[in-house]
């Protein structure tokens, strides 16, 4: 019987530790192979059955064999044990097996530790605001499991344990804030981080017919832009990304040519100042309003085609300040090499396009007229704007211009640039984003993948590179209104639903604003933010020493507060306010040199003070009499709260002095 009892006792800690571990693993469920989750659930269910005497425990040898098999599976899946995904999968598998042999308290602590590491892995992986409640819940679960494990039996109600853990976490919050705000951050890491193998979303370095239409089905944000001051009009909101120079007749590529010198620009008009926060997409492109005036970061190249190319892929939310002019000119002539690159076309491809270019060129001798003629061709050629155009032939431009006549921005840009090049005019495809959705709550623009766009640039001697957007010619609505208005079927069903429901859209905007604030204030928190906080607190020229000072002050303050806060609840504390006030009065009198005897009532005490310490009597006697009245007087069954409060205040205020030579309490 006692043994049975002891084993039933171990069921509850088992349950909590298992729950903490399973929850930790589930936080990573979409980043690990599905079979690890299956292993986890099986092991957890098995172990709980063992603890409840439903199933026999797995023999030790079987556990070892299982460990070997599962670790082999992890290695086979990832080809490594290094890196976050493989490490997480390994931890889940090893922890699951550890669950099977969890018997002692020590085992349970190990499982809880593993659950905390899984929580850490989830934090390292994703820090979205939406996941924060999950992380908080898991932290509270682990802490509760800690309490239940330390208690070890069934006598502790889970609500008591949970409350204990959550209260402790709440008390720890100020310290966490102090450390978070003031603990000096490293400018870089200790070791190189493995590159993330996230699936590449966003614009790539090549464009085939249809590649952009795949992208625009996604409602995911690409970046957010906050303007300081003037906001450009909708038709100027072109966000420049990869510029494509090389054409093989079907696909445009970035190609070579980074060694070319940048064509000098003359910036005209008023500049737009803004900050961009990129959503990490593992690409190296930084997007900026066309045309940016310079590189915002020393690790970012301002390329010869006016794009921003970062040294490292964007794996963290990245914010930068930029300055752009929407009107530029370049009067210098284009170099021979650049001209050759920008007019290159694959020979013997798209012959009908060449024919058309020659025809147009014959009619319009000057370059601007040639461009105008091409634009007229697009405007009057019966072209259709569509997100699901028919597939194009091997000679994609010929097929598009003379056969299907139905396409998306990529088709138009590709065909237009090919036509220009066929006519001997330097031209290139620019990809990026166009437009952006204004978020009135956050005061910024969200540019989504569905805003992906491609347009053309042609070289006009004496004026420089000019933007021509053939899509805007075919579907002028595209610039003023969102894609959804013109092509409602282009994007996913859930995005359509959001768009069709104003309340939902509004909520979504609010959530996006909150998320952005989270990303800007918390996720992007670094040394400069820390120093900024110190300066706002009134520290001039804040540096590391100021940080450390603030950290130390906060730490000491919290430690003192927590010691006082927790320590005070351990002493005997009279239940009601009147008793507390009386105790305080007696303590004051004791400090003044005349302590109340344990047997002494308030009136006897007052009388003794009158005899022994006449100097105190005038102050002490009315108070003691008041207490006696409140406690034992006619209304003493339920003394008025106001009267008790008044007495309490009187005691607090009265000053009785203090005797230096105090007997230590024996």
């Amino acid at each position: 019987m006692p043994q049975l009892h002891a084993e039933r006792d171990s069921l509850r800690p088992m349950l909590w530790t298992t729950a903490a571990f399973v929850a930790g693993a589930l936080l990573n469920v979409d980043r690990v192979p599905i079979w690890t989750t299956a292993v986890l659930i099986t092991c957890a269910a098995w172990q709980l059955s063992v603890a409840a005497h439903k199933l026999p425990a797995l023999p030790r040898a079987a556990q070892l064999i299982l460990t070997f098999i599962l670790v082999t599976c992890v290695v086979a899946t990832f080809h490594t044990l290094n890196g976050l995904p493989a490490g997480t999968a390994l931890l889940i598998v090893m922890g699951s097996i550890k669950l099977l042999e969890t018997r002692s308290r020590r085992d349970r602590y190990i499982v809880i530790g593993a659950a905390l590491i899984l929580l850490l892995a989830a934090c390292l992986d994703r820090q979205g605001l939406a996941r924060v409640p999950l992380y908080l819940g898991e932290a509270a679960l682990c802490c509760t499991a800690l309490v239940v494990t330390a208690y070890g039996g069934a006598g502790l109600h889970f609500r008591v344990a949970g409350l204990l853990a959550v209260r402790s976490l709440v008390l720890a919050l100020p310290l966490a804030l102090v450390l978070f705000l003031f603990f000096p951050r490293l400018p870089g890491g200790f070791w190189a981080l493995p590159a993330s193998d996230d699936a590449v979303t966003g614009l790539g370095e090549s464009m085939s017919p249809g590649s952009i239409s795949q992208l625009i089905a996604s409602y995911d944000p690409a970046f957010r832009v906050r303007f300081a001051g003037a906001i450009p009009p909708p038709q100027e909101r072109y966000w420049r990304g990869p510029v494509l120079h090389a054409f093989d007749g079907y696909t445009w590529r970035h190609g070579l040519g980074q060694a070319l010198p940048q064509q000098p620009l003359r910036y005209m008009g008023a500049p737009y100042r803004y900050s961009v926060t990129l959503v990490p997409d593992a690409n190296r492109w930084w997007f900026a309003l066309d045309t940016v005036a310079g590189s915002p970061d020393k690790h970012v190249l301002f390329s010869y085609d006016y794009a921003l190319i970062a040294r490292d892929p964007v794996t963290q939310p990245t914010t930068y300040e930029a300055l752009s002019y929407t009107h530029t000119e370049s009067s210098e002539p284009l170099s021979t090499l650049a001209r050759r690159i920008e007019t290159a076309l694959p020979p013997e491809r798209n012959p009908r396009t060449r024919e058309l270019a020659a025809r147009l060129r014959a009619r319009a001798l000057a370059d601007p007229q040639f461009v105008g003629a091409a634009i007229d061709f697009f405007r009057s050629g019966g072209f259709q704007y569509s997100v699901t155009p028919p597939k194009l032939d091997f000679d994609s431009v010929d097929d598009f211009l003379f056969h299907t006549r139905e396409g998306f921005c990529g088709h138009y840009a590709s065909a237009f640039v090919a036509l220009m090049r066929a006519g001997g005019l330097p031209a290139r495809v620019v990809t990026g984003y166009q437009g952006g959705e204004w978020n009135p709550i956050g005061g910024y623009f969200v540019v989504r993948q569905s805003d992906a766009h491609a347009w053309a640039e042609v070289w006009i001697d004496g004026r420089g590179w000019r933007r021509v957007d053939p899509t805007a010619i075919v579907a002028p609505e595209r610039l003023r209104r969102g894609l959804l208005d013109i092509l409602p079927n282009a994007v996913s069903g859930s995005a359509r639903l959001l768009y069709a429901t104003p309340l939902l859209a509004h909520l979504l905007q609010g959530w996006d604003a909150l998320n952005t604030a989270w990303n800007e204030r918390i996720v992007k928190f670094d040394v400069s933010t820390q120093l900024g906080i110190l300066e706002r607190l009134g520290v001039h020229a804040a540096d590391w020493t100021a940080l450390v000072t603030a950290l130390g002050a906060g730490l000491v303050g919290w430690l003192a507060w927590i010691a006082w806060h927790i320590g005070r609840s351990a002493g005997p504390r009279p239940a009601d306010r009147l008793a507390r006030a009386y105790t305080r009065l007696c303590n004051k009198l004791a400090r003044a040199g005349i302590a109340r005897d344990a047997h002494e009532g308030p009136l006897a005490y007052a009388e003794r003070i009158g005899r022994r310490r006449p100097d105190l009597a005038a102050r002490a006697r009315p108070l003691l009499a008041r207490y006696a009245h409140l406690r034992f007087g006619p209304l003493s069954d339920a003394p008025a709260a106001a009267a008790v409060a008044g007495f309490d205040r009187m005691v607090l205020r009265c000053s009785l002095g203090r005797v230096r030579m105090r007997q230590p309490p024996s």
Binding site: Y109, L124, A139, A172, L175, A176, F190, I566
Partner: protein, 326 residues
């Protein structure tokens, strides 16, 4: 190594604190606290989390680490507080026969409005005993002290500890109270009860027989027949009592150390102890004569204890004791 350190620390605390007198209140100055193995492990875990968070410049991970560090420190104070303010109101030792476990009964009072979880009491070489104490209440903790030889055992090195709430720290306090456990000689012997000198032969009767003299109630002892138990009194909430009757003229027994012939003193004491237990169980009056001591005819629990105590301490210098502290 660990045991050596603990002994050194205990003696240092003994010199620092001095001897205690009841009641012993657990003040700040006498509570010590150190991380447990789980606590060190947790600290290492936090360090790893910290390095990872710093390396990845990951705010969420760093915040989590800092928060858990704060949680651990709150745990430190909570663990300390779990012991703080508890008063040891009583510490008594229940005598026992050699070979059986003696009981040290501790009464712990919690005057504070918060519950104390898992307060453990331990002695060197004794299995610890655990209790919870609800807010503003008291709890009793019994420690079973194994014994081997008769005599006086001075209980030293009593430690009150707790690792709650999180098991990451262990707070403890040493209590230096002179608690004396009397260990009676083992009650064993082959000789029958000595025959009664000069008294009327009488027999103790089974409970419930009419017409006999009502002696009264006494506490239940192992081996009493259930038929003798005063069930009515028990149903009213009284402890388990046994009704005692005996014939009008109970026999009187005289146990004399000198009259026993066995050469070994310990064997003689064991025989005397067995007789005393037997006579008391029969409800007879008995007297005990040891060289230098005589305990007059009497019966009852008090008398039994006095006699057995005399046997336990026979021949021992008042100062000498077999300390169980190993």
């Amino acid at each position: 190594m660990k045991r050596f350190l603990r002994a050194r620390m205990a003696s240092w605390a003994r010199r620092r604190q001095g001897a205690d007198t009841l009641p012993v209140t657990m003040h700040y100055r006498r509570i010590y606290i150190l991380p447990t193995r789980a606590g060190w492990g947790f600290a290492f875990l936090l360090f790893c989390m910290f390095v990872a968070g710093l390396n990845y410049s990951n705010s969420t991970a760093l915040f989590l680490t800092f928060w858990l560090a704060g949680f651990v420190l709150v745990g430190l104070h909570r663990c300390h507080r779990n012991l703080l303010g508890i008063a040891l109101q009583g510490a008594t030792a229940v005598p026992t026969f050699a070979g059986a476990a003696g009981q040290v009964q501790l009464t712990l009072e919690n005057p504070a409005p918060l519950a104390r979880l898992r307060i453990e009491a331990d002695l060197p070489g004794v299995a610890p005993s655990v209790t919870d104490i609800a807010a503003r209440s008291a709890a009793r903790l019994d420690l079973a002290v194994p014994t081997t030889v008769r005599g006086r055992v001075l209980i030293e090195g009593l430690r009150l500890t707790t690792a709650l709430p999180f098991g990451l720290f262990r707070a403890w306090t040493w209590v230096y109270l002179p608690v004396e456990l009397i260990v009676y000689p083992r009650a064993r012997g082959s000789l029958p009860l000595p025959t009664v000198a000069g008294a009327t032969q009488g027999t103790r009767l089974r409970g419930g027989s009419g017409g006999d003299e009502w002696l009264g109630l006494r506490a239940f002892r192992d081996g009493d027949s259930p038929r003798q138990v005063a069930w009515k009194a028990y149903a009213r909430g009284a402890p388990l009592l046994v009704k005692e009757y005996c014939s009008a003229s109970a026999p009187e027994r005289f146990f004399d150390f000198e009259r026993l012939t066995h050469p070994d003193t310990e064997k003689r004491l064991e025989q005397l102890a067995a007789w005393i237990v037997d006579a008391e169980n029969r409800g007879e009056r008995y007297a005990l004569t040891l060289p230098g001591t005589t305990l007059a005819l009497d019966r009852g629990a008090q008398h039994r204890h006095r006699c057995l105590r005399a046997l336990a301490l026979y021949g021992l210098a008042p100062a000498r004791h077999a300390a169980i502290a190993r």
